[in-house]
């Protein structure tokens, strides 16, 4: 790219450091020395993308390979977009400022559905044909990965292949396979078929969907050379051997999650029925406690950060959390390093553990209560009781805390108005508790904030059969909830139900939904996860223009025996398990966590052993 033009553009935007690269830890190679140039694309801002462990892990794994150079791309913010359009500039990599269309493989990480329009935005700015079928010999291969690939169908027309599950090994294998096919002189179709034989790779163009007269899916026809459906996700079982970057890229500008992280475990034993991550990342695998400590120290030594976080879906479920804390607390005090431990459950602290945690935890206290009544918490299998929440709060108040934050959802299956009103009642109980304590922090007032999101029934969860509650109905519940608050100490904030509705369509859509994504992009939708970008009107217009019936995807209750778009891919949990869990949910019956009892989710078909057998 012309340097003068680039300088002019950067001089005109708000945060130019988003686009320059050159950070400590960024990798530069001689492009002629590699077989494959890999474009790692994060379809959101630099500050978001650089906060993701996926970025750090894949960048490191790919660049460790001498035959590959992985460079980064992020979505340019509105001010940069304007500059690029004015200058007629293409999207270029951070490292070598090479245009996207000069790369061999383009890898997008799909972390959330509302980034889908940004995928099209980046492809188009990079001069890449949007549809897989339009791309020909010599064009890059576009690969998708990340949690959203557990239903890849709405984006299937735009991608040449998807890497399902743990990506530590798959991306390198795809690169090697493509390089090998090129050496052999195979054409694009043959290359795609070759890639389809890599474990965890789903090549959507090899399967044709067939629909019933009522619009539902009938199934898929596999074309010649296609492996049988469903395609299994890739698993990396031994967390102690999982490649983990200890010299990550250190962003020079401030980013959202501005600290290194050590992944302590993958998967979750809890089985909260609304939580997609809790199902798609099964089975539960943890890293050795001493390795976690070694990695944490190395990360601080190599980066110079003064804060580090332990990363997982539920850190307190690590069987040796106490050893981890023993290994890190004194070190962190001595090194003046702040230890941050998100995702801790209140119910799992023993006395001594609670004592240790108190030394490191300085931020406010948060509880993921998720629902207001015990009945509804049982429905979603969130096994936390009101008593536990209240005793956790009491403990916190006695230790000088005066602010508590709670997370809830509205629109959960079987929810009644009584459940909604119980949210404000619970908040009130916490306020009352504070004032009932004789030893409460003196001279200070209490704040109870409740953050209330809209429940989205996601694929691969027991609620995949359920419909979204509806934009208007959720609005009614939100108003009712806010109206029921009687104390100024309680602060309720809620999410916009329109975004959640669109997210549901994108999460549960089939292959035809790509037309709505494209139409929304053509209407000007980008950065849909941002209030600056999201426009409900544009999406409604996109559904009208593309003839996609959004309610059909978002609101409809689905039959148990219906063939779902996400049945093309196997993430471990079986349909029969999800049905059982759904039925228990409707009866408000809970399921014990995996460590207490195996509920037969099906993931051990992949591993060939019981998850918690004596080793």
């Amino acid at each position: 790219m012309n340097e003068t033009v680039f300088n002019r553009m950067l001089s005109a935007v708000q945060k130019p450091a988003r686009y320059t690269g050159g950070e400590l830890g960024a990798v530069y190679k001689d492009p002629d020395s590699v077989d494959i140039r890999f474009a790692f694309c994060f379809p959101d801002l630099y500050e978001i993308g650089m906060s993701s462990q996926a970025t750090q892990i894949l960048y490191s794994v790919l660049n460790k390979d001498d035959s590959i150079w992985c460079e980064r791309f992020f979505a340019p913010w509105f001010d940069m977009r304007e500059q690029m359009l004015t200058e007629g500039a293409e999207l270029v990599s951070l490292e070598s400022r090479t245009p996207l269309n000069k790369f061999d493989v383009i890898g997008f990480t799909l972390q959330y559905e509302m980034s889908y329009t940004n995928v099209l935005y980046m492809l188009e700015l990079g001069g890449i044909k949007l549809f897989s079928r339009e791309r020909g010999e010599g064009d890059p291969f576009v690969v998708g990965g990340g949690p959203c690939t557990c239903n890849p169908e709405p984006m299937a027309e735009f991608f040449d292949m998807f890497s399902l599950g743990d990506g530590e090994e798959t991306d390198n294998e795809i690169c090697h396979c493509i390089a090998e096919c090129r050496r052999k002189g195979l054409d694009r179709r043959q290359t795609l078929i070759a890639c389809a034989s890599i474990e965890g790779v789903y090549v959507p163009c090899l399967y044709e969907p067939e629909y019933l007269p009522d619009g539902r899916l009938k199934g898929y026809n596999a074309l010649d050379g296609a492996p049988a459906l469903p395609v299994r996700k890739r698993l990396f079982m031994d967390m102690d051997k999982a490649p983990y970057p200890l010299d990550p890229i250190v962003p020079s500008m401030s980013v959202i999650h501005d600290r290194p992280s050590v992944e302590v475990l993958r998967g979750c034993i809890r089985g909260c029925r609304f939580c997609q991550a809790g199902f798609i990342y099964r089975p539960f695998r943890c890293k050795d406690a001493s390795l976690i400590c070694t990695q944490a120290r190395a990360l601080i030594d190599n980066t110079g950060y003064d804060e580090i976080s332990l990363l997982s879906l539920s850190t307190s479920d690590h069987p040796h959390l106490e050893d981890i804390l023993d290994g890190l607390i004194d070190w962190s005090v001595e090194k003046k390093v702040n230890l941050s431990l998100p995702s801790l459950r209140v119910d799992s602290f023993s006395g001594t553990l609670a004592q240790k945690l108190r030394q490191v935890r300085e931020s406010g206290l948060t509880f993921a209560a998720e629902a207001g009544t015990q009945r509804l918490r049982n429905v979603i299998n969130k096994n936390i009781t009101e008593e536990e929440i209240l005793s956790g709060c009491e403990d916190a108040f006695m230790n000088g805390y005066t602010a508590v934050k709670l997370y809830f959802m509205l629109g959960l299956p079987t929810e009644t108005d009584e459940d909604v009103l119980a949210i404000s009642a619970l908040c009130q109980k916490i306020v009352d508790l504070f004032y009932s304590l004789p030893n409460r922090p003196k001279g200070r007032s209490v704040t109870v904030s409740a953050s209330v999101s809209c429940f989205i029934p996601k694929p691969k969860t027991p609620f995949e059969f359920c419909g979204f509650n509806g934009v208007e109905e959720l609005r009614r519940k939100q108003q009712m909830l806010v109206g029921s608050v009687r104390s100024r100490k309680i602060d309720i904030s809620y999410h916009d139900s329109e975004t959640s509705y669109i997210e549901t369509v994108l999460a549960k859509g089939d292959r035809r939904v790509h037309e709505a994504v494209l139409a929304a992009y053509r209407e000007g939708s980008i950065f849909d996860g941002w209030s600056e970008g999201f426009s409900y009107e544009k999406w409604l217009e996109a559904f009208r223009k593309s003839g996609i019936d959004a309610d059909f995807y978002a609101l409809r209750e689905r039959d148990f025996d219906e063939f779902e778009p996400w049945d093309t891919v196997d993430y471990g949990v079986t349909k029969s398990f999800l049905k059982r869990e759904y039925e228990k949910a409707t009866k408000a019956q809970t399921t014990p966590n995996c460590r207490e009892m195996c509920s037969g989710c099906g993931v051990n078909r992949f591993t060939g052993r019981e998850c918690f057998a004596e080793r």
Binding site: T4, N7, R8, L10, S11, P16, A17, T20, G21, G22, E23, L24, A26, V250, S252, M253, S254, I300, D301, N302, T303, G304, Y305, D306, K336
Partner: protein, 219 residues
């Protein structure tokens, strides 16, 4: 306890780092260096860093002093400071010297700037000749309260010369930049471009050095 003054360059893409970003980069580089550095003693304790004259976003520099403290008295080798810090800094931030401070920050009086403006170099240079020959060059800026104030830039210009090079107008100026008042070179340049209705293709502004009242180098 000893004070250490390092001198660094901020060049290339690093010019797009804000002053706050630069501070964070140096904080991490110092933490990573393993030197026993001094932390401020306040409620939010952090590594003590002091910059002589913060640089605007977008400007390059070949001479940026920054001070920190090492807790123990045992002298550290200059080369070691330079090497350890550089291994922890992003591209474009480069430490090139370290020493005990010679002058106080308040002794810095002027900055020497090089301003490269690409565009119609001939038109720009004849206009610029006229522009700087005036006795009064009014420049308008807002103070912290948002109140506009017009001043005579000539009072802030110690030396100024210009030349043309490969389609560029190259201005070399020594402008006042002490702790009480300073003139930002981009304000002077924009006043010039606006007054003559000129358009720049690209602008590069570099601080070449920091000077004392007698125009010798700040060390």
């Amino acid at each position: 306890m000893q004070n250490v003054r390092v001198f660094f360059r901020k060049t290339g893409d690093a010019r797009f780092l804000s002053h706050l970003d630069v501070m964070r980069c140096f904080t991490r580089a110092l933490k990573r260096s393993g030197f026993n550095v001094w932390y401020t003693q306040g409620f939010n304790t952090h590594i003590y860093l002091m910059f002589a004259s913060p640089l605007s976003l977008g400007f390059e520099s070949e001479y940026e002093p920054m001070d920190f403290r090492i807790v123990d008295d045992e002298p550290v080798a200059e080369s070691e400071v330079v090497e350890r810090l550089n291994s922890g800094l992003p591209r474009g931030l480069t430490v090139f010297a370290a020493s005990a401070p010679e002058h106080e920050h308040t002794d810095a009086a002027f900055s020497e700037w090089e301003i490269r403006v690409s565009g119609d170099a001939d038109a720009m240079s004849s206009s610029f000749r006229e522009f700087i020959s005036k006795d009064e060059i009014p420049v308008t800026r807002k103070n912290k309260k948002g109140v506009e104030k017009t001043e005579n830039a000539v009072e802030y210009i110690k030396k100024i010369s210009f030349d043309t090079e490969e389609g560029c107008l190259v201005i070399r100026a020594v402008l006042k930049s002490d702790t009480s008042s300073s003139l930002n070179p981009s304000l002077l340049l924009n006043t010039f471009l606006n007054e003559y209705g000129l358009r720049a293709e690209d602008i590069r502004i570099t601080r070449k050095s920091l000077l004392l009242q007698d125009l010798t180098i700040f060390k």
